[in-house]
Subunit: 501 residues, 2 copies
């Protein structure tokens, strides 16, 4: 509907989209291409563009337009969703005082550097004052944004819009309760890590293979790139320009392939945003959890499946030659799904991964609820690892200091990993039911029907609905832990020949 306010909104959306693309590109380049000595100017240049973006987003003229749209009942559903998302972004841009935004940006930069050193030296006390400051400012930010249930709602809402702590906590409680005994059975049955795929071919050769692989599963290389980095990520620079970066584990070729499958999940999502929404803020995922659902789905449900092992192994052998020897799809499947108690989240398998997240969520909640002091975090961490994983870190490097999230003020982010896991399992189960299964296709490397289903049900919906609403629309029910638990029981029951009580 071409209302007057909608028309006047368009150039503002265009400018925001253009600035956002530029900010995205500067970030991608910084991590993938920029020479080291360019970092100082880049940091400032990015910050200048972000300031411009913020000033445009908090422009009172935009606020007036949004108010006009909010009250307009003649808008179609895309316009109404746009108005809703814009209102949210505008409120966040205007409610948080500029000084607080600057203080958080400053402490993040500083805390990140101190964290790096603290992690290297396993010295929590070095990091403690920085983290104190981060937690204090993030609480202040939560209060500035406002919340109804509890303060953590506002932190969560940064990454998982509209999610409520009480609901997420209930999911975690149930998940951990059901997962613990299942994981224990699996861990008892799992043997030592198979090392058949511990090879490390030339980086360029791995890159070529991964580029071929992601194109095969549906990533449009004319509308994106894939490059190597040390900290993998995926970013939509703009329509027709989605860039994934992957990690190469020198100790395991499987990890490189898994990294490509994971990032492809994110990247396929971004490539699937509706063409006609290109300048609208709803051309985005409704939450980090929903975004993560796509990466988990492609990495774990597709990439670590038995049919996929049958598809990919001959291609791995063809590309990397004799190094892969006489390995069988069964070897690859076992290697890709090895389960083990480990200290490090990012190296955790699919079964234990969410136990790591459970610990972090508990600690964040306790910090936000003033039930835990930053100074007591290391002890709480070690005790939590004992409780959830049954192991204790020998030092803080492998313990409380392992993740960068808190140092960069990403409090409220961790639970989205688990929400992503749960969404992924539920969506995959639903896709299988709707499509009558597709194992035979995947065995031939054909993921087109699955991708079509995801395009239709998830990607093309953008941020028209909240993640919970989108999920309910697709699944016909509330998100639950059941599909994930079923998936774990099925896969590892078959793999290790165990049954679950």
């Amino acid at each position: 509907v071409a209302t007057d306010a909608w028309q006047r909104l368009q150039p503002k959306l265009t400018e925001l989209a253009d600035l956002s693309s530029a900010i995205g590109l500067l970030g991608w380049d910084e991590h993938v291409m920029m020479p080291p000595k360019g970092s100082e100017r880049r940091a400032r240049s990015s910050s200048t563009l972000q300031t411009l973006y913020h000033s445009r987003l908090s422009d009172p003229e935009l606020g007036t337009l949004i108010d006009e749209l909010q009250g307009d009942t003649s808008l179609d559903d895309v316009q109404a969703a746009t108005a809703r998302v814009l209102k949210r972004e505008y409120d966040r841009a205007t409610k948080i005082p500029k000084e607080l935004v600057r203080a958080i940006a400053e402490v993040s930069t500083r805390a990140f550097h101190v964290w790096q050193q603290a992690k290297e030296e396993s010295d929590f006390q070095l990091f403690e004052p920085q983290l104190e400051e981060v937690v204090r400012l993030k609480k202040e930010e939560a209060d500035a944004i406002g919340w109804e249930g509890e303060r953590y709602d506002a932190a969560l809402d940064n990454f998982e819009p509209d999610a409520k702590t009480v609901e997420v906590e209930a999911l975690f409680t149930q998940l951990l309760e059901e997962l613990q005994p299942v994981a224990a059975t699996i861990l008892d049955a799992a043997g030592p890590r198979p090392d058949l795929f511990s090879i490390n071919p030339e980086p360029d050769k791995q890159l070529t293979f991964c580029r071929w692989l992601v194109a095969r599963i549906g990533f449009d290389m004319e509308a994106g790139r894939l490059d190597l980095t040390s900290h993998p990520f995926s970013i939509g620079v703009g329509p027709g320009d989605v860039r994934q970066t992957i990690w190469r584990n020198p100790a395991s070729l499987i990890d490189t392939v898994s990294s490509a499958m994971h990032e492809s999940g994110h990247a396929l999502y971004d490539q699937g945003m509706p063409e006609e929404w290109r300048d609208l803020p709803i051309a985005d995922a409704p939450s980090m959890g929903m975004h993560e659902s796509q990466s988990r789905l492609w990495e774990n449900h597709v990439g670590r499946s038995r049919p996929f092992a049958e598809f990919v192994l001959p291609h791995l052998k063809e590309h990397f030659g004799t190094e892969l020897g006489m390995t069988t799809p069964e070897d690859l499947h076992r290697g890709a799904n090895h389960v083990e108690r480990t200290l490090i989240r990012t190296q955790a398998d699919e079964v234990t991964y969410n136990l790591h997240i459970g610990l972090r969520f508990e600690l964040e909640l306790a910090l936000f609820r003033d039930e835990l002091k930053v100074a007591d975090l290391p002890d709480a961490w070690d005790a939590g690892m004992e409780k959830h994983l049954g192991i204790r870190p020998a030092n803080h490097t492998e313990g409380v200091l392992q993740d960068m999230h808190w140092s960069t003020a990403y409090l409220g982010y961790f639970p989205t990993y688990t929400l992503g896991t749960l969404y992924a399992a539920a969506l995959f189960e639903k896709a299988q039911a709707d499509l009558g299964g597709f194992d035979d296709e995947v065995r031939k490397g054909d993921c087109s029907r699955l991708l079509g289903w995801l395009r239709d049900k998830v990607h093309s919906q953008g941020w028209k609905y909240s993640a919970a609403d989108l999920s309910r629309n697709i699944l016909g029910e509330e998100l639950s832990v059941a599909p994930f638990i079923r998936h774990i029981k099925t896969r590892y029951g078959e793999l290790y020949g165990v049954s679950f009580g």
Copy 2:
């Protein structure tokens, strides 16, 4: 001197520098990294940033500050030069009406696309109306900016600030007069093109070699990159981030190496800008001609010299192996300096290159002086080629339509190539005199004393002086054609065993 106006100027300069870095990066990425489908958003995003840059540069508040600085006699020389350059940029940003800026931008985009098709089809009439429009608008722009001597001064000033047509024309007249008979003698003596280096190794292998080579001659790889593109260029994204892109000729390895030497000249210049001027507009070359002097110097005076051939050949053989067979430094030197009458400027050798430029300069002058109609350009071109080169193109693809410059409204650019040639020869001769020669060092791949001299005399001066003033400061005399003519006579006299009357 920390005057009040100077202090208030700093945040404005910072923002301009940051926006400029972002614009530069978007441009580099577009040509080197961007997936094809990202072009639409990129074009718009770049244009949005350029609009922001223009609005900041034409901000009346900035104008007031510049006026205050202009009248302030307490400024030191860096501050005074900054005020002078800013005044120039501000005037250009405010004197040209916005509608004219937009009209030129629009016709450039359109004309470029039409030119591509016209060139492919050798159809000048297709391109003619677009070029008519370009010429008309560029004359309008010249009048808006203002000029004293003649209208072409303003076009020239876009690329060669402070240069006057009458002076440049005098240089060209003398150059062509002296070069013609010398070139004729050389062309008569030159045999057919040697094809010893017509090999085309894997692109990655050529890239690796060129990266090694440019680092060896002094390019700091921690503060820059080198990549392959089809249309080579070099760009300073910001301090510590200078990116060169080079061209790979599948028909000649020498061209790839020459491309790297050429772009390194530009890139070393940018890397040599004073650290402490990083946000000032004087951290730039004073003109395109002076910038080109550095690329010509490294490409032709160093890269195509006999000592350099002795240095580089063993490394070429080591890197590319048996493909280079039993070639000698003499073979390489002959191959790198083969002289021939050709139709295409970009493939022309050092001797005939400036004859191509002479033709273009004459035609641009005639267009600006209303002595030539766009419709008559093809005939004038062909006649000019006959006059300057002694050959006639068989079609417009290899004739009047070969260069993209006019389609992108780069009228006034061509003469800077020849000015660059003349500056290069004069500076190289002066460096040799000041340093007592350095052939033995170059023979070992050590260019450090030469680079040090250029850093001191040229790079570190930035845009503190106009190109002509800078050159006069260094040479102790006005720029003349003599050093270039001496260079050509010496090099080709030795190479072909001829003497010049």
